[in-house]
Symmetry: D2
Subunit: 368 residues, 4 copies
């Protein structure tokens, strides 16, 4: 089986640390692959094994992965005993983390260096860093030649990482709502380099539930009249989203799920609040009004209390495995079959969870 | 297009009254077919039209449909102006309601008389009466000849209605959790008479949501650890379910959805409480705990506030249309393709809502 | 017993219409005084009787009270039959509604004219109109002479009404979060004219619950760590609050309850959203995290689903009765004893509901 | 200051372990007295200091307190580092735990031995063991002489402990819903021996909230129409309450709060479910319907997610301190002033939380 590396942008963040610790725990037999979609029946055994993945990444933070894992375990994101048991693996990944605020050429060299050092057949770059504000549109974003002529410094950071990944022949997953590979110029580059990508904005909590429920209302011809929500977030992502500009990116992704399924806009907004006291945890409340037979008004509410890192990390492993395998099978450009994992599924207009799941299952079958 | 009659067992109850009033309102252009699955895109135009359905039924109550509709409108189940506007249609259906506590032969005659009086091509009997306790098993239930030899008085009331329906050449829908057509002897009769049936226990509220959400947890490999619920019911069904024996039937249906999807039993119970103050309304709270990556425990809660009659009535219209058309196309015996509508889908082990919906859509295509 | 008039600013709004219809329904014996605090045991019989109150007011809208009452009854705010039964009383109050956008002198004349026409001993003006933005501070607000020298046009509308009320010798209740009588210059005028006033921002729903619960946490030494909320509002007030400037007034009032009781600021915000589909109804969700023994983190959530007009109207009647009686007993200036009714209790730093209630009860005893 | 001992019935249970560990943590300066009512401003400094309390108790379990504390810390009931840091104090208390299933005379000897060994001025016995079924009434329960003649073996276990406490000259707190000191014969004994007692059933969660909210509805003249609830409990108490007989005791206590405040019975039940997966945690959902002005129906829901041991333990410390001090001040018999702490306040008909709090504050003043 092919040797696969996973290169994490934001490699010292909560999600990345959970990814590295989790893969190590699975390798050591200390935890089952709970939350990993690709480990459930029906997914092919030909995907790269979690236990064999090699990790590295970019970050500007300097706190060690071991220290980060200890903090996460104190916050209940993983068993307290785990960081010490996994120290060797955490340190190994730590040794492969490079500073993120470097010139574009250096990013590419970091990726090729990683691949060569470990003799990897393929590397998948996954962006799990902080959410950026929406990019200011620029004409050069629409055309690779124009972009390269105009200067790559125009690119927002996430898109610089995507550019570097494609130039280094790596697949790319945009797990945040940032711009990343969504510019036409970058899609052109991915096609030219023969590398696949997927995104964007991991569907881990409230939007996951929305995409399971909205088809229920649609199928039953129950007219959704309003859908409002409040997300309370602690942790790093919450702090980032306290910035209204970054929050804008997130809210756009979130609001697509319901209208995408129902085929029309619905009253109501999704609020995002930073509540530092919540730490690594997130609580979302959603309130839905809908009309049934003879116009009778009814109400549905839900409260989701989850740990974002624990929800995101296994999906990052799933995506890395699937993109690596798709790359191996010769796929390039956007992978619309992976929409199941994303709030804003690139290359697909399907937001209903069950339909996305069926498409993913079929895709996994093709990869076998 | 064929002329179709709908014969409602419990014809003066809240659901039946809403069915009759709703069909009349749609016919008169006073209401859209909100909540009717078969009126959404993708369902064939060859189904019997709602506006053409003719209604009758059995009941032991004597309050007129017009009076019942007035009470329902006061309780918010339909617009206040509607009962007066629909008086003629309500009275016409009222004139076709027969006493329910009569010998079996008479039930059959009532059905054939209804069909002949209105020159109907087909009649579908739908049980929307009060929930019965689970039937005490009897060896004769397994074999039609034995049952007819032993005496049909062994049958619980819902099964007597199913027997009468089949003998009269009518399709049958068991919309309650009662025994109805589920006995092997009755399946034998349906096959012999060439009539289709479907059931059981209309999936209108809490269980609908469960069946939309349970596949979400399963697909994401999130391990559900407990699923508890409390249903608060007013109205007629609530009063019936205040009887522990009747409640037993309901709880068995309800508990199947989650374990049916997850493939294993899960801790927790579903409580049903009769709260007369809630009137025609129902509130359900569900609490789910689940484990994600590295064993992190998370929680999901929902509250559903719905009007059962408004949720059930359009499904009764859907089922009557689909069963009539299936009958016309020569189908007999159980129709597993209609599992989408039921908590306890006869003939099918599939409880996931999206999978049930796809099967229904495919079936509707075959009926076109 | 003294004859008392109630003059409503915003006299054709939902709250005012419910006040007038409700008093008429109580007078006619068609409804019990549910929701009226002053009708519970322990309140003195010497308060002006609800049945004897005479209503008038200012508004710029022209829809008749009867039409407004019909709309409210269609929205479930009162029984459908009520507007027709109360037509005479609604029309009588309608005849006493004057245009609100008139010069200040005219406002005063409207009040004295109303008092004389009906031979009233006292009139209480209650502002139930739309919420204004917070007033821009001005030095003249601090001193009556300066204000009258500088020109009364400086005053925001609610304060113009308060000024007119005081000049006409009427008590005043600020039931909205607007500036109203809160300027020192106006307090000076009320003292000079010997009239009482109370306010501000009626505590009808979410904040009512907060002020009942915050003392529970404080008393038990449970450390509240965050308190977040989302208010979903339809109706007129919701539309007004869709304007961020007006919303600012409301949020300031709302956020005082918890910190006022706990004696310190707490993380978290209260969001207000306008959801037109909710009509006259309001839903609020609050989420509280708190720490107990040994730092254990716990969570409390509540959902309040109420009808603002139905909650506000009986309190308007209570306040009119109490302020009229206090006026009769010679009280002037702010009435801190009425803090029980308000989110932002003028003249009092007490926000705990039970303490406010005890103070109100003692005050009612003094008024007996 | 007097030396005070706390003798815990059920000394190796979750609550008792948290009590002992918590007092030790406070003594060591490792935790603030969060959750201790008597440590808030307004309570006198003359109460016995938490740091000086000496612990012992009865239990039939043999797992050491240190082991129990480790399990509780793994379940999130206390910081993971705490059990090791407090090992000496835990072991000291462990050495004072005696077998609970011994003859009555022996129970008394255990208490006097504990007092003498540690030179204590006073000992307070607190029952925090598993809930018993309601006691079967017996005529001898009404009269001490009859009881002693008839044989003390008639007494349920909790009452045997109360008897032993009184005979040994110890105060007693019934923190569970069990019979304990509530029999007239035992009240007679407490009076004769000059010892105080208080109870029963610690008000730690859902009922605490009920008793804060019910007065809000009553004060505002909002008519509560139904109050329903579901309690999901893991842990030891949950397992005990899975037994319908024991559950009966608990439900009786719980249902008193709302009717006690509102002065009338209200529709709806409180369900208790054992969900082992919840471990030491408890979730309660309550649903309240109420009517306001003109009969408008409104709804309130809350979800409480708490850790019972963390909520109960500081109250046990409060009660031990208050009862010891009352004993010192010469009080004997029931202490109705402590109703603030209990679901079923012995000696008092007051269930409203704020009124109970004021009474407690006044009592604490008298004890100063």
């Amino acid at each position: 089986m092919a040797a696969v590396g996973v290169w994490l942008i934001g490699a010292r963040g909560s999600v990345a640390t959970t990814v590295v610790a989790g893969a190590a725990a699975i390798r050591a037999g200390l935890a089952p692959p709970q939350g990993c979609v690709t480990e459930t029946p029906g997914f092919p055994g030909t995907l790269p094994r979690i236990a064999d993945l090699v990790f590295g990444g970019h970050d500007i933070a300097e706190t060690s992965l071991r220290k980060r894992a200890e903090r996460l375990s104190a916050a209940g994101v993983m068993p307290v005993a785990l960081p010490a048991l996994l120290a060797r693996d955490l340190d190994a990944a730590d040794a492969e983390i490079r500073p993120g605020d470097v010139p574009l050429a250096r990013l590419t060299e970091d990726l090729t260096g990683f691949r060569e050092r470990h003799g990897l057949d393929r590397v998948v770059v996954v962006n799990v860093s902080s959410t950026e504000p929406p990019a200011v549109p620029h004409p050069a974003f629409g055309d690779l030649a124009a972009l390269e002529a105009e200067g790559l410094d125009l690119l927002p950071p996430s898109s610089r990482y995507a550019y570097a990944a494609f130039r280094a022949g790596c697949g790319y997953v945009e797990f945040t709502p940032s711009t990343g590979p969504t510019l036409p110029a970058l899609a052109e580059l991915a096609a030219r380099e023969g590398v696949p990508f997927a995104g964007r904005d991991g569907k881990t909590g409230e939007t996951l539930v929305k995409s399971a429920l909205a088809p229920m209302f649609a199928g039953r011809a129950l007219q959704v009249r309003s859908w409002s929500g409040l997300n309370l977030l602690g942790g790093g992502d919450g702090a980032t989203l306290a910035d209204p500009a970054a929050r804008a990116s997130k809210q756009i992704s979130k609001d697509r799920a319901v209208s995408g399924v129902l085929g029309e806009d619905v009253e109501g907004q999704t609020h995002i609040d930073y509540v530092p006291e919540l730490g690594e945890w997130k609580t979302a409340w959603d309130h839905v009004t809908f009309d049934g037979f003879l116009g009778v008004r009814m109400t549905f509410q839900f409260t989701w209390q989850g740990c974002d890192s624990a929800l995101a990390a296994p999906l990052v492993l799933d995506l890395a495995r699937l993109v690596a395998r798709a790359h191996e099978k010769g796929r390039s450009g956007v992978l619309p079959e992976l929409g199941y994992f994303f709030k804003d599924p690139l290359g697909s207009a399907e937001h209903g969870l069950a339909a996305q799941y069926e498409r993913l299952r079929a895709f996994a079958g093709e990869l076998a």
